[in-house]
Symmetry: C2
Subunit: 273 residues, 2 copies
Amino acid sequence: MAGHPFDEAIRLEADTARPGAVWHGATHEAYWNMVGPFGGTTAAVVLQGVWGHPERNGTPISLTLTYAAPFQEGAFEVHTQLVSATRSTQHWSVQCVQQGKAIVNAIALFAVRRETWAAVETCMPVVPPAAQIAVLDATRTRVAWVQRYEFRPLRGGFDRMADLEPQADSITEQWVRDQPARALDYPALASLCDVFFPRLYLRRGKVIPAGTVSLNIYFHADEPALAATGSEPVLGVARAGNFAGGFFDQFAQIWRADGVLLASTQQMVWYKA
Amino acid sequence: MAGHPFDEAIRLEADTARPGAVWHGATHEAYWNMVGPFGGTTAAVVLQGVWGHPERNGTPISLTLTYAAPFQEGAFEVHTQLVSATRSTQHWSVQCVQQGKAIVNAIALFAVRRETWAAVETCMPVVPPAAQIAVLDATRTRVAWVQRYEFRPLRGGFDRMADLEPQADSITEQWVRDQPARALDYPALASLCDVFFPRLYLRRGKVIPAGTVSLNIYFHADEPALAATGSEPVLGVARAGNFAGGFFDQFAQIWRADGVLLASTQQMVWYKA
């Protein structure tokens, strides 16, 4: 995986004076959004700040970020603190910092998963397999991070951006994977939770200033479930619930092609009009 | 509202040495759960720790808690920190502390709402009005907090607990309000987001050890929308998405009777088998 742009974008180096507690990273042009880095890579970076901590135990169960201020291009720090722990769970606080100012405020729960009774209750939509769907020509977008994913839109996808008209709903269904292909791991899954453009675009039929202010991710996949995904496309399904007062929510799920739910996620998005 | 048990349960007193940053509260027997306080009142207490801060601006947009350790009966502290702010948004970190140990780790986003284009996209289920549904006899439960709500179960509610059998889905639909009735405000709404018993009970048809480890709330209501609710019942709809590895998620929405979405929430719940 050496040299994959995603790995470059989320690479953190331990601070020599405070290893584990402070990490050094940098924004990456390949995942640049309109006025800052793609929020998905930021979520992955926060996860990395916990993953590499010498005291880390288990795998991520939940991750929540609020995006406080835009990243400036260049270096940033990740500050990681283990707030509380039991034998099998860990509660973390993480902040991304530039020029001494917190630009991301986050918490995460890691835990040791166990064998239990299991069931998928909400079912994956019935859609044609990824192999039957044409790949989006991402070179038509000028937004860098969009070109770092291979999108196969089924409904309400980036292909609609060319001739945007108001839709009755904001549902997006799309097959998606990293571009170039890369085996799925927790940081990549976190990032995939944010690959849906603002639901508002579909409802209003135009591009309107909007940005994610809060992202919440619940991880359902254990490491074998991720490994079994490999670098195959996963199905992303997203929809808004409510638009009011300058904020709307989005609820999304990321499915493995065989119907295993990998992650569920909701986010709150600020919008201008 | 003086004397309502909910107001007693979420009452915080400012620390004289560190007002705003440190608050003193205490668990309340009227909202006791099986091995600690009801998680809904804990969410409300965290919100109060921000609400009363002298620098607080705007109203809650998002609130996320992870529950790190059980509360002991008695006094606790709430530690509140304003991490980052712009003119219209505030990013907060909040922890509940007992004996110097963090037992709740939380972040919140407050913001000033503005008049914008608005739409409810996911619609309230069509159900009979609250007045037509019998109130649950909560005296049959020995769990204190359940008696502090007036439940009118439509589907998968507490009335099913008497003769629990495995269900094909975990959907709960219920009208609910505080008992005694109390005008809806943000703390009460936060608490209402956690009034659903573990979805696992419905799927397995039995009571199994389970506890919320992460609760995420997105607030859609502004203060006029809350005021218009008054003390009328609201509709709560909840469902699990996936059960695996000792954790399952729950997605829920809280609706005003006229179809206004007040809050959407998801939580991750630990379970034993």
